[in-house]
């Protein structure tokens, strides 16, 4: 019906030539194609997310993963202020997470050598925050029981780190690799001569982190993860019951662990006996 009505009107007064109309139609269709194409490609950003949810270790003070991805403006100011360059920005294979900061603890962990968690201070959008707004949910076990005490600041008037939630939890995933568990000591550079990672050693310089390779060790029983943990009471060595008479110890992670990853970085075993489980929450001591 509509066609029959429209047809004579069209014939009576052609708004534009057939050629022009075809051109306009083609332009419209191509524009729709362009829109669909670009939007389609942009939605590919979902793919890496669905595969790898929660596997990245985020900088301290990061919101929960979904909130973190939505609030991060991908500027890298956190990267710029970190004194040990622990923070890296993700590439396009992280999908929507492109340009979002993360930490590869084995390569370079956060050792809090900035004292004040500078990355949180630098974040312009609150993706990294000292105080989470109340309407954002907090996962059970993510909240720290008390403000963690930084060993380096223990004698200061304010020895705590302004951190309310953990970014992960350390876990002894390969006890068979652990030197302490084997009852062995450690002598030399913790990660070899080519390792580029840095750390702050209070007995060397409080304000200047140095390469781990410039700080060799000589230990009767390896206790690097406990010795170098920047926080108080986050990890300790406990004797292992064994019948063979060798003095063995095992590292035990405790509630104050924030998941900074120093233990993973410093662990001399290949592969690391202890690693940080990114975005994990505290579920009680695993002994």
């Amino acid at each position: 019906m509509g066609d029959a009505e429209q047809a004579p009107r069209k014939a009576a007064k052609p708004a534009m030539s057939i050629e022009k109309a075809q051109k306009a139609r083609r332009k419209f269709l191509q524009s729709v194609g362009l829109t669909a194409g670009v939007i389609g490609i942009s939605l590919l950003g979902y793919v890496p997310l669905s595969r790898a949810a929660g596997t990245r270790l985020r900088p301290p003070g990061a919101l929960n993963e979904a909130d973190f991805l939505s609030s991060c403006i991908k500027c890298g100011q956190c990267v710029q202020v970190c004194p040990v360059q622990a923070i890296k920005l993700a590439d396009l294979n992280d999908g929507f997470g492109v340009g979002v900061p993360h930490i590869d603890a084995r390569e370079q962990a956060c050792d809090f050598s900035c004292d004040a968690v500078q990355c949180i201070l630098a974040c312009p959008t609150g993706a990294l925050t000292y105080k989470k707004p109340e309407f954002l949910n907090t996962r059970e076990g993510a909240r720290l029981a008390v403000a963690p005490i930084l060993k380096a600041k223990e004698k200061d008037a304010e020895p705590t780190l302004n951190l309310k939630e953990r970014i992960g939890v350390a876990k002894l995933v390969r006890p068979e690799n652990c030197l302490a568990v084997q009852g062995k000591g450690f002598k030399g550079q913790a990660r070899g001569a080519n390792f580029k990672g840095e750390m702050r050693y209070m007995d060397v310089d409080r304000w200047k982190p140095i390469p781990v390779r410039d700080h060799p060790y000589d230990l009767e029983l390896c206790d690097l993860c406990v010795r170098e943990c920047p926080l108080k009471n986050a990890i300790e060595l406990r004797p292992l019951k064994g019948a063979d008479g060798i003095a063995r110890m095992t590292p035990v992670v405790m509630e104050p662990c924030v998941g900074c990853g120093v233990c993973e970085m410093i662990c001399p075993a290949e592969s690391a006996a202890i690693v940080v489980e990114a975005q994990a929450v505290w579920k009680g001591a695993s002994v």
């Binding site: 829109t35 939505s70 991908k74 890298g76 396009l92 340009g99 630098a122």
Partner: protein, 321 residues
């Protein structure tokens, strides 16, 4: 509709309209212009002959663009800490600066605005109101520069009839702006940032290259072989965001019909030629008209115009002086 609304709608994608009413003075100018055809042609040729083709504004603009991006890079590399961050968000000597479109995406996705985010966004808003909105595109955005360079290749190929330019509807950008905003709200992710060549290039310059540059390369290929300046013209929501800001900016490129021979050189070099529709014979309604919000104030038209009919103008300032 007022000229403001017309220009704004033009930015959103509407076709330029012929003026409903032409000022008497302009009518007089047009009559005088064409009164004596020989004189008109002579004058035209004279102007051409004496026009020294300069790249004054282009060179200044490239210098500013490179200097701005270099300042970001050096601030990090040399640890000068003058301009920390990247184009999406930064701190200039400690003051928060946040890209308006990035801020918008984060606000829509996260649905929460902290004080620093608001301060940074507002500062940048004021800055670009003063500087002309889309001035950001041509004077700061690194993708604009690489796209401007590859455009030369595209034009060469078009000239040799190896490729043809495929135009899309200009309203497509408005649709993209809405869709990217909607996707931020619905998915809770800043979807546009994944693709934004502005952010990708800025981060690549400062923090080192990565896979993401592959996407930028694909975009450039598309622009060279399929559609001239397609990203800036038909897709990029950053341009529209800054365009909206620029709609109330006193910083304008203005057109003076009296000096114009209506040859259209300006439209050929322009990223957004629809803003130069006033330069078509019979389209100008006032003696002096600003090109409007979609103009990136890049100055290519000013460089190419042989008769000084196009000029930078700070509205209100010329009256004051």
């Amino acid at each position: 509709m007022s000229r403001f609304t017309d220009l704004f709608m033009g930015m959103l994608g509407a076709a330029p309209k012929k003026p409903a009413r032409v000022a008497e003075k302009v009518q007089k100018i047009m009559v005088l212009k064409y009164e004596d055809k020989d004189r008109y042609i002579k004058e035209k040729l004279h102007a051409r002959a004496h026009h020294e083709v300069s790249h004054k504004w282009r060179n200044r603009r490239w210098a500013v663009l490179l200097a701005t991006n270099l300042l970001f890079v050096l601030s990090f590399w040399l640890d000068i800490q003058l301009l920390e961050g990247s184009l999406t968000a930064s701190r200039f000597a400690g003051f928060h600066l946040i890209d308006l479109n990035s801020a918008l995406q984060v606000m829509l996705a996260h649905k929460h605005i902290i004080v620093n985010l608001f301060i940074g966004t507002f500062t940048v808003f004021l800055l670009w109101v003063l500087l002309g909105g889309r001035t950001f595109c041509s004077w700061v955005c690194p993708y604009h520069l690489v796209s401007e360079l590859t455009e030369k290749l595209h034009l060469k190929l078009v000239d040799r009839k190896i490729v043809t330019d495929h135009e899309f509807h200009r309203g497509t950008r408005t649709v993209f702006w809405l869709l990217f905003g909607l996707m931020s709200i619905v998915t809770g992710y800043t979807v546009f940032e994944t693709l934004s060549p502005t952010g990708i290039l800025s981060r690549a310059l400062i923090y080192g290259p990565g896979l993401a540059l592959g996407w930028v390369f694909l975009l450039l290929l598309f622009e060279v072989f399929w559609s001239r300046r397609a990203w800036c013209r038909y897709v990029c929501p950053i341009g529209l965001t800054y365009g909206v800001v620029g709609s109330i900016s006193p910083m304008q490129v203005s057109y003076h019909v009296e000096h114009c021979f209506h040859e259209g050189d300006c439209r050929k070099v322009c990223l957004v030629p629809h803003v130069l529709d006033v330069t078509v014979k019979g389209r100008a309604s006032e003696e002096s008209m600003s090109l409007g919000p979609d103009c990136t104030r890049c100055g290519l038209c000013i460089d190419v115009c042989p008769t000084d009919a196009l000029r930078y103008e700070v509205k209100g300032l010329s009256k004051l002086l």
